[in-house]
């Protein structure tokens, strides 16, 4: 039986290794400088890149972070300080609910709220949909990281005559900053690859656009379109795009681990 647990550990890590291996093998051959600097080519023409989709993804992540980070950190502060009020329990529960909602549901909600009334797709709608997905993630990690800060630190600041709000921001929040940054990076990594909420919001765009009021291209959307197409050249582009996307996500995820490590020596258990 003990052998079986070893076997399941091997089987569970196998898909990751296989996926990464295929990505590198199929993606690297299609990857070139042009991929980062050129626009997508029409069907039938070789070459081209995903410059607009890469920039689009960055714009979407930026918009999402502008919404998700402040609200998430603020809510986390609230939960850590009013730990056992009825409101805190409600918020915590609904934050889990929000986290568990299928991303496609968030997508149709954003469409209903931000696309339907305006009449056209926009990067803003996509970014805010992703931002809504970030909030529960950031809230949860912020609260957890703040709870790790020793009470004595807070008490020391208060005893020195710091007002409570200064104590929270300059002492407690600062102490937990590395942990919160980790949480923020994990949340960014998670939404960077989301596709479903963008289908009816950011929508994708064949052309160069960085305006939040216009539909915008995004790496995951582009990969999806190319992957289900019937053209070999587009398939190759999809693999290259996936390799870039996964590299982005993995670098952010690994950076997130190191942010915490450098501060505390080892991840807090």
């Amino acid at each position: 039986m003990i052998g079986l647990t070893y076997l399941s550990a091997i089987l569970a890590t196998l898909p990751l290794i296989l996926i990464l291996a295929h990505l590198v093998q199929k993606g690297a051959s299609s990857l070139s400088l042009a991929f980062f600097t050129h626009m997508p080519q029409p069907v039938g023409e070789a070459g081209g890149g995903m410059a607009n989709a890469i920039v689009g993804t960055l714009v979407l992540i930026g918009t999402a972070s502008l919404m998700g980070l402040p609200i998430g950190i603020g809510a986390g502060l609230y939960l850590a300080e009013k730990r056992s009020t009825p409101l805190a329990y409600t918020v915590r529960f609904l934050s889990d609910v929000l986290n568990g909602l299928p991303s496609i549901v968030i997508g149709i909600f954003a469409w209903e709220f931000l696309v339907r009334p305006i009449g056209h797709f926009s990067a803003l709608a996509g970014g805010l949909a992703l931002g809504a997905m970030m909030i529960p993630l950031v809230t949860r990690t912020t609260e957890e990281m703040l709870l790790v800060v020793p009470t004595s630190l807070r008490e020391a600041a208060l005893a020195l005559g710091y007002p409570r709000w200064r104590t929270s921001i300059s002492v407690v929040l600062r102490t937990a900053l590395a942990g919160i940054a980790t949480g923020a990076l994990v949340a960014v990594a998670r939404i960077a690859g989301e596709t479903a909420p963008l289908l009816f919001t950011a929508f994708g765009n064949q052309f160069w656009s960085t305006s939040v009021r216009e539909p915008i291209a995004a790496l995951p959307l582009q990969i999806f379109t190319y992957a289900i197409s019937a053209y070999d050249e587009w398939h190759r582009q999809a693999w290259a795009g996936a390799l870039v996307l996964i590299a982005m996500v993995l670098i952010i995820s690994i950076a997130a681990r190191f942010v915490t490590r450098s501060r505390f020596g080892a991840p807090v258990d």
Binding site: I2, S8, A9, G74, L101, I108, E112, P136, F200, A242
Partner: protein
């Protein structure tokens, strides 16, 4: 004009500072409370918006949205039963595959792993959750599906003679319920194993020591003392994985074949609620069509909400004992 005594000024200044602090505290409290309140507001807004948009379809079609299997846009029939069926079956397949593996990994990591392996293996399994679903879909289309079509499906059907059962019969297309179930299994695995690992570590040491003291082997200790204690938490983890699988959109849409039919065979293509929305939403032809898709979204919302609520409650019931 006579100068005020110095100590008066000092007192005033101190009073001012206290008042300033009180205002600051008040502002700070309001800002954080507003941030916290945005979360319930968002959940309520999502529920209201989706149910309001789904209402015309529910009012006109009633429960036939989820019981009928006639999805005919031109004729105004919207029965998403095949999609509901596909969502449930693909998730069930995923759990059947992922659960034993995830629990195995969790036991390995919490009990048997040499300490130098624990971090890397845990990290690799966690990374599975970081891979974007569109990348899983891409891998599914170009690696998993050809493998299933050419090797696995013929092997299951002909070499193992499982073709006699309805589950593994019929032609091997490739895009299928089985492909969706396998992809979902890989995607649900890190969620289940993360929770299972956490609750296994929450089992008190005394529980283990008592079993060992009674002469149990390590495996008997895990089977008879550790797992029963962690059972409801592990079930919670499985439910969390289920919640993920039910709502997963892109990877499934890319590998399930998107055919709205109910078939007993796992080799046959199917459809899920999420992929139905993903495929038709931006091309919805009329208001009823759009509303019917919203109704599918609303049903998905309710199902995942229930599954997640039960999951959280189960996990919470185990981990609250951890601090002791």
């Amino acid at each position: 004009m006579t100068a005020l005594p110095a100590q008066w000024l000092e007192k005033d200044r101190r009073k001012l500072r206290v008042e300033e602090a009180a205002i600051g505290d008040r502002v700070y409290e309001i800002i954080t409370a507003v941030c916290a309140l945005i979360i319930p507001a968002l959940v309520v807004a999502i529920a209201v918006a989706i149910f309001a948009a789904a209402w015309p379809a529910f009012a006109k079609l009633g429960l036939s949205i989820v019981t009928s299997s006639n999805w005919d846009v031109a004729g105004g029939h919207f029965g998403a039963a095949p999609a509901l069926f596909g969502t449930l079956v693909s998730s069930a397949v995923a759990l059947i595959i992922a659960t034993p593996l995830a629990i195995g990994v969790a036991i390995f990591l919490s009990e048997f792993s040499p300490s130098w392996l624990r971090q890397p293996v845990g990290f690799l399994v966690d990374l599975l959750a970081a891979i974007p679903s569109v990348v899983y879909g891409l891998w599914g289309i170009f690696v998993l599906i050809p493998l299933l079509r050419e090797q696995v499906m013929p092997f299951l059907r002909d070499t193992l003679h499982l073709g006699a059962t309805p589950l593994f019969s019929g032609p091997a297309y490739g895009p299928s319920m089985l492909a969706a179930g396998l992809i979902l299994a890989i995607m649900a695995l890190p969620y289940i194993s993360a929770v299972a690992r956490e609750v296994l570590l929450a089992v008190p040491r005394s529980q283990r020591e008592a079993a060992l003291a009674l002469g149990a082997t390590r495996w008997e200790m895990i089977r008879d003392a550790v797992i029963p204690y962690a059972r409801s938490g592990i079930i919670g983890g499985i439910m969390l994985g289920l919640g993920r699988a039910l709502g997963e959109t892109m990877a499934v849409t890319m590998v399930i074949g998107n055919r709205p039919e109910i078939s007993a065979s796992l080799f046959a293509p199917g459809y899920t609620m999420a992929s139905l929305i993903a495929n038709e939403f931006s091309e919805a032809t009329n208001d009823l069509h759009l509303s019917a898709l919203m109704a599918v979204g609303a049903s998905l919302f309710v199902i995942t909400l229930l599954v997640n609520a039960v999951a959280r409650w189960l996990v919470w019931s185990v981990s609250r004992g951890r601090a002791k």
